[in-house]
């Protein structure tokens, strides 16, 4: 019975939560996300407390450019949708399409990361806004950089899963892994929604 269920032609309807291991991963990961919420909150709180302490550096309202942030937001939002598609195909036991959509998600993730690297480079070189310039710049790089590190980690995670499972098909062993990686990706987008609102939009408003 258990052997038969592990074969990819015979998947149950929620393959990510069909085994005890899958259930544990699912629960454990949501616990972790609860903790991540608080962790990001402390970075947001620090940023909000220090955002006006820019010393001789440029203030937030002169630093940010909304065009780039808008493109980054759209890219990350779309990548959240493409990972939804991947999970949809996972539940329909369509390994090929799942891999395709995960691949698109990874590409979008890389373009987001590339734009963020360009943004930081631009701030440091054209505005002299380095990590140690002021309390504001430290808080900014700590918050946005930490989010960027999450994106980089999520990309590594997706790529590892795709390489490891490229020939396996979907089974009860790897379905929870894909599902949880996509939860992580959505959570990254959740954090970004607050970053573009609280950091960039509120920074431009003043």
């Amino acid at each position: 019975m258990a052997d038969e269920l592990l074969k990819s032609t015979n998947l149950p309807h929620d393959p990510e939560r069909a085994t005890l291991e899958g259930k544990n991963k699912f629960l454990g990961f949501w616990f972790f996300l609860g903790g991540e919420t608080v962790l990001f909150a402390s970075l947001f709180g620090t940023y909000l407390a220090l955002k006006n302490s820019h010393l001789d550096g440029v203030p937030a309202s002169e630093l940010y450019g909304l065009g780039l942030v808008f493109i980054m937001t759209m890219i990350l939002l779309t990548s959240s949708l493409t990972s939804v598609y991947a999970i949809y195909h996972m539940k329909n036991n369509d390994h090929k399409k799942m891999m395709l959509w995960l691949g698109i998600t990874v590409l979008l993730g890389f373009s987001f990361l590339g734009l963020e690297v360009y943004e930081f480079y631009h701030y440091v070189n054209d505005y002299g806004h380095g990590f140690t310039t002021s309390a504001f710049s430290s808080a900014f790089y700590a918050l946005v950089g930490f989010h960027g590190a999450h994106v980089a980690f999520g990309l590594g995670w997706f790529i590892l899963l795709m390489v490891r499972n490229r020939k396996r098909g979907i089974n009860l062993y790897n379905a929870p892994k894909f599902y949880i990686a996509s939860l992580y990706w959505h959570f990254i987008d959740v954090v970004w929604v607050f970053i573009f609102t609280v950091v960039y939009l509120m920074g431009v408003v003043g």
Binding site: L33, V38, G45, L48, S80, L81, N92, H95, K96, F187
Partner: protein, 110 residues
């Protein structure tokens, strides 16, 4: 080994779940459209350069609604079997609220 065909003999139950997944997909596409619209509104209000007291509360509310959509539809929190995830995320949000409140008010003593 690498067996990636859809099972050919679908039962009635399979078809029911397939339909249900399609329904869920529709909700997720609506969610995506709403999130794009909220983002456009938020950027639009800031570009329009209206009063700060008006802009900031609105963009924060838009962000909260957008994140709610993301949690409940993209991350499937509206599906059954998600009572613990909901508990964890809301406790996280509660602690997050207190953290931000503490850090933003403590600077007043500075």
């Amino acid at each position: 080994m690498a067996n990636q065909n859809n099972s050919t003999n679908l039962t009635e139950k399979d078809l029911f779940y397939r339909e249900k997944k399609k329904e869920e997909m529709k909700h997720q596409i609506i969610t995506f459209a709403m999130m794009i619209i909220f983002t456009l509104i938020a950027f639009g209000i800031v570009m329009a350069d209206v009063s700060k007291l008006f802009t900031i509360p609105i963009i924060i509310v838009l962000a909260i609604v957008q994140v709610g959509f993301q949690f409940f539809y993209f991350m499937h929190m509206s599906n059954e079997g998600h009572s613990w995830p909901t508990t964890m995320i809301f406790s996280g949000i509660f602690a997050a609220f207190l953290t931000v409140l503490a850090l933003t008010t403590i600077v007043w003593w500075g």
